[in-house]
């Protein structure tokens, strides 16, 4: 345990002292949020308005909050993975600079190094994502505060399990990468694709049935759904209180992936958590085995 603590401490220190790495990881969620607000804010808002029947006027504040909470959940869903990839670049850097060669001539087990990278990446990713949650809360307070304290806590829990998943995915991918070029290529692909795959940029419900079926195998989709539930729940309740029929609310919820359907059945909340946690654990185990066998060079 002492050795693991030393490794985690070393990795975290390096992440926070490498100003370029730390600041770019920290700033990226804020930039992403600004981009969302600028380019997607009105699209989302108009989409909500289009659902409302004639005769029902919702306060501007509520519509803004609904839009803001959807943007926030999209942001967090993407960040838990992209920030993890950014934080995890230390693993690649260590291979490139030869630090791993130095580690490999010590009696420490290879699996411990793998766990060390995993935990330190998860910690730094979580910290940055929690900072993004804090920024998001300020944004929600400005747009319209309808979120409850239990929902904030559940949102933090979602961020936690999704960080574990993002860290596991980035760790497994980075275990096979050993150059800056490969790392940049992977980061570019992940940044460009992940938002679509997890339903952050466009709701999965807006895709074709076949694509929805394919994406239902991807745990990130359930992550976005969980985040939507906890960030938007307060706003939906306020809509109900304003006299919007439940049928309309359900239609809006389905349109933003509040519910995910597999074979026309809604995936229950507990199952979403199990899918994400299970996948995170499974991928993390794969990663540890991959790290051990990759280091035994032939």
């Amino acid at each position: 345990m002492t050795m693991l603590y030393v490794l985690i401490k070393r990795n975290c220190k390096l992440f926070f002292r490498d100003k370029g790495l730390f600041l770019s990881s920290l700033i990226s969620p804020v930039i992403l949020l600004l981009l969302y607000i600028t380019f997607l804010g009105n699209v989302y808002k108009n989409s909500f308005i289009s659902f409302l029947p004639d005769g029902i006027d919702l306060p501007e504040k509520l519509l803004d909050s609904l839009t803001a909470s959807q943007l926030l959940s999209s942001l967090l869903s993407v960040c838990t993975v992209t920030v993890a990839f950014c934080s995890n670049s230390l693993m690649i850097q260590d291979k490139m600079t030869g630090v791993r060669r130095d580690f490999d001539v010590t009696p420490v087990k290879k699996s411990l190094f793998a766990v060390g990278y995993y935990v330190s990446t998860a910690l730094s990713t979580l910290l940055i994502c929690l900072a993004a949650v804090a920024v998001g809360m300020v944004y929600l307070a400005i747009s319209g505060w309808y979120i409850s304290i239990p929902d904030i806590l559940l949102l933090i829990f979602d961020v936690f399990i999704l960080t574990m998943l993002g860290t596991a995915i980035s760790s497994l991918v980075n275990a096979f990468i050993s150059s800056q070029g490969q790392s940049t290529a992977v980061m570019t692909i992940v940044s460009a694709c992940y938002g679509f795959i997890c339903g952050a940029y466009m709701p999965v419900s807006s895709f074709s049935k076949t694509l929805q079926k394919v994406l239902s195998f991807f745990p990130g989709v359930y992550g976005t759904s969980l985040l939507r539930r906890h960030s938007m729940q307060g706003a939906f309740e306020a809509m109900k209180d304003s006299g919007v029929p439940q049928q309309i609310i359900s239609a809006i919820q389905d349109s933003v992936d509040y519910n995910i359907y597999v074979s026309d059945k809604a995936v229950p909340y507990y199952l979403m958590i199990l899918i994400i946690s299970g996948c995170a654990l499974l991928i993390a185990i794969f990663y540890i085995f991959a790290s051990i066998f990759r280091r035994k060079k032939r």
């Binding site: 002492t2 050795m3 030393v6 490794l7 401490k9 070393r10 220190k13 390096l14 002292r17 490498d18 600079t97 030869g98 630090v99 060669r101 130095d102 580690f103 490999d104 001539v105 010590t106 009696p107 420490v108 035994k296 060079k297 032939r298």
Partner: protein, 304 residues
């Protein structure tokens, strides 16, 4: 002296390239062992296999009586490696770097402080402990690399081109430390270097070429076997030097005459006593041995 490293019929290929091709040698305990070869000769591949970073295709490596394929975990705590390039963390201080690496050998707390003071004094880096490693000069970095390799008191120290690009003062510190460790702790040192004067101080030298041993022996044995002697005569009379009938090289204020052996040099001097007023007889250098060996690889192989 006991053999602390034994390598038998070692083979390693990368695709069609045979990096190590039936390599066999041994290193005795407490010895300064120089491992020489041009770039790509197979030195680093061999060291990587000895340090457990590469697996051999076939052959056997035994370190401290243990097979590297079966007991590498036990061997790691008995070897220290100074790599060609610094492999410490640039954003951490010297102390933090050594602290994290020492912990990998179970050294922490007071034990760490005590060993740190010992090494800082030995390698003269007491005043840079709080400085960021990445901001140190090349020489300072090298001293910390060596401290890192020595932290757990290894039985064998691998030095992979440790002095390349270093200033003379740091090179001297490094060699003083190595000498002291060998005397005080009977530490075995396996060195690869491009500086032949460093190899000349070794107890035993192995020269490899294309993954095979081209020549081996003590520096004296190699000099006697692969180079002749040289007579350095301080004169400007080139006609006389030329009339001696031996190959020679003109230097700034002298001539370097190559003779087959010391007896021949004596005979030449006795016969020309009036001309040999200011002169010296020297053995061939390790540079000459190296050039001779790598330049006559097939002949040497045939002779062997």
């Amino acid at each position: 002296m006991e053999k602390i490293i034994k390598i038998e019929h070692l083979f390693k290929s990368f695709g069609n390239v045979k990096a190590v091709n039936d390599l066999s040698f041994s290193v005795r305990e407490g010895e300064l062992f120089a491992f020489l070869g041009v770039n790509g000769a197979g030195k680093s591949t061999t060291i990587s296999m000895m340090c457990g970073q590469l697996l051999q295709d076939s052959g056997k490596i035994e370190i401290c009586g243990k097979d590297t394929c079966a007991s590498m975990a036990d061997i790691f705590s008995r070897i220290g490696v100074v790599f060609q390039n610094s492999v410490l963390d640039p954003f951490l201080t010297v102390r933090e770097n050594l602290e994290s690496r020492a912990a990998m050998y179970g050294i922490s707390g007071r034990k760490f402080d005590s060993r740190l003071n010992e090494l800082a004094s030995l390698l003269s880096f007491e005043n840079i402990l709080g400085r960021q490693f990445g901001k140190l000069s090349g020489g300072q970095k090298r001293r910390i690399d060596i401290a890192r390799a020595l932290f757990h008191n290894p039985d064998i120290l691998f030095l992979d081109e440790p002095t390349t690009g270093l200033d003379p003062q740091t090179r001297k510190i490094l060699w003083d430390v190595v000498t002291e460790l060998r005397r005080g702790q009977n530490m075995t040192v396996l060195l690869t270097t491009h500086y032949m004067e460093e190899a000349a101080d070794a107890d035993y030298v192995v020269i490899i070429d294309s993954g095979r041993v081209s020549a081996e022996g003590t520096p004296l044995e190699l000099k006697n076997r692969y180079t002749g002697d040289f007579v350095l005569i301080y004169t400007d009379d080139e006609n006389f030097v030329s009339s001696l009938g031996f190959p020679y090289q003109r230097l700034r204020d002298s001539f370097r005459i190559s003779v087959p052996n010391c007896a021949e040099a004596t005979r030449m001097i006795v016969h020309n006593q009036d001309k040999f007023v200011d002169y010296e007889i020297t053995k061939g250098k390790m540079d000459d041995v190296f050039l001779s060996v790598t330049g006559k690889k097939l002949t040497v192989g045939d002779e062997k």
